[in-house]
Amino acid sequence: MPEALVEVQDLVKYFPVYQRGVLLKKKVGDVHAIDNVSFKVGRGETLGLVGESGCGKTTTGKVMLDLETGDSGKVLFEGKEVHESLKKAPRSEKLALRRSMQMVFQNPYGSLDPRMTVFDIISEPFVIHKHIPHVEWKDRVYSLLKLVGLEEYHAERYPHEFSGGQRQRISIARALATEPKFIVADEPVSSLDVSIRAQILNLLEDLQKKTGISFLYISHDLSSVRQVSQFVAVMYLGKIFEYAPVNQVFDKPLNPYTMALLSAVPIPDPVRQTKRIILPGDVPSPVNPPSGCRFHPRCPYAAEVCKTDEPPLRELGSGHLVACHFAEKFA
């Protein structure tokens, strides 16, 4: 893997859970949103972050951009610690760092201000960051529109005049306006119609080819992750269970949760019969995650050791990281 652009080290983030008492609210526990997570996103690469709802994907993305503060651990961007830099560095440096990292959200309806024209939406970062001289705004907005597959005349329109896919293009254009090196794309296609999704997935790939940008592509949809990522991290209840180049994760998964996840996806081919691993039970609550390996109550291979000892994320084969006591068995 090429040089890391963003690096996450031992990141932890808990959210307190309160119960309302008669007078006071009482803390009853913590949601273990991110529980000691480390990974890298390479320059010019896409890391797909997959997992089921509530496993901590979005929180991870937000902490990486300092939209949430981690409890402990570090996020490094080009080797510099993000949270510290944003607190202590001189203003110009802070703004430059903010510009380097952007986020695209799941819901293109909620994330665009309905009273602003597309021009205003896309040029808003210019107002904030003043990194582009005013005379160039128009050209910039037009070239961004073109980059995301929209037309110049769209600039004067309002968000409600666009379809879901077009709105997502506008969100992407706005994120690109600061000339970022890294974008966290959080479920960018899941609220779009099936026939529109491919437009956005292809757009992400094109942008990467043209600008060398890196993505953290967050999704619960494994097929789309395979489509756009070079590396994949699988998350379960706040932990990374597996991290490897995309084909290794999809063709030779080494963690039983990854295996079950992959086997659960229906493949659009009536001739192919998939052997499905059906996991018992629900995804446990992240408030009191199971002891040892968090997956042990649902794991078909669980043994005594899994109830007591948490498996570390370790390397098995080049660049393939896995957290499972018995990963060798699957290699």
């Binding site: 119609d193 099936v194 026939s195 489509q227 999809f250 659960a264 493949i267 081919d269 009536p270 996991l279």
Partner: protein, 327 residues
Amino acid sequence: MGELLRVDDLRTYFYTEAGVVKAVDGVSFVANEGEPLGLVGESGSGKTVTVLAAMGIVSRPGKIVSGKIFFKGEELDHKSEKEMRKIRGKKIGYVSQDPNSSLDPLFTVGNQLVEVIRTHFEDTKDQAWDKGVKLLKLVGIPEADTRMRSYPHELSGGMKQRVAIARALAGEPELLVADEPTTNLDVTIQAQVLDLLKTLGKQLNMSLILITHDMGLIAEMTKRVVVLYAGKVAEEASTLEVFQTPKHPYTAALLASVPRLDRKEVLVPIGGGIPNLITPPSGCRFHPRCAYAKQICIDQIPPLEESGQRRLVACHRWKEIDLRRKA
């Protein structure tokens, strides 16, 4: 293979302030016994409205404008509301897209099941309660006795969907209509529910209509498919044929645009967006997005015509174009 549900030239419109939404505009299909049928299409293509109308539950501003519905050869049109309700639960069970809306938050799971069971059978409350427990066991809910006393909000998404399925099974229907039964569920829970639907079908000798936008689910769960686009049938065929030799450009385009888990392919997106159904495109409703559109497609509505044995397609150009997919 007997005919279960026949929908004949169904039209259902919504009379809204903005105009008349032609949500379902001349849809026909047959669901046969033991031949799981898929209704596939994108959001707004009319899947849900079609089956709701077939069961006679379209509410204002919606109206069934025309069309005939038959269940085992018997026309349902002239039935009273009360008779329709019986048919709904006892002949056709419906699991809605959103388990939150099909379960009443104010009543326990048990109360809701007892109520449904007692509208269909002359059971005492105790008998109905026991049946309720059995239903929960049937759909794989652990500690069924305790769960009967739970309120919907105390259940996880997967559990709620199981309860919704149990509720739909209460009248012992011959046909189960499952509307996007797994869309809001996590992948591993989705696998559980699919497995449940398969087992139930076999165990109870019950047929299935599956509504989904997911071609993967269609491939796995169905034997026949009706592809809907903007309130009309684009194509109807066996599942195998639809995947191997699609005859409608929309079907082929849809297949080429979805990413696959088993391999990375070049995705070919479908341009444009879903049409507005108040002023749908003239002629073929797919023409603004179709790579094969010609003048005739703008001028004339393509009829749904036979394109092979038990195959229907609505495209002016199906004979001339070759949509076969590279293997």
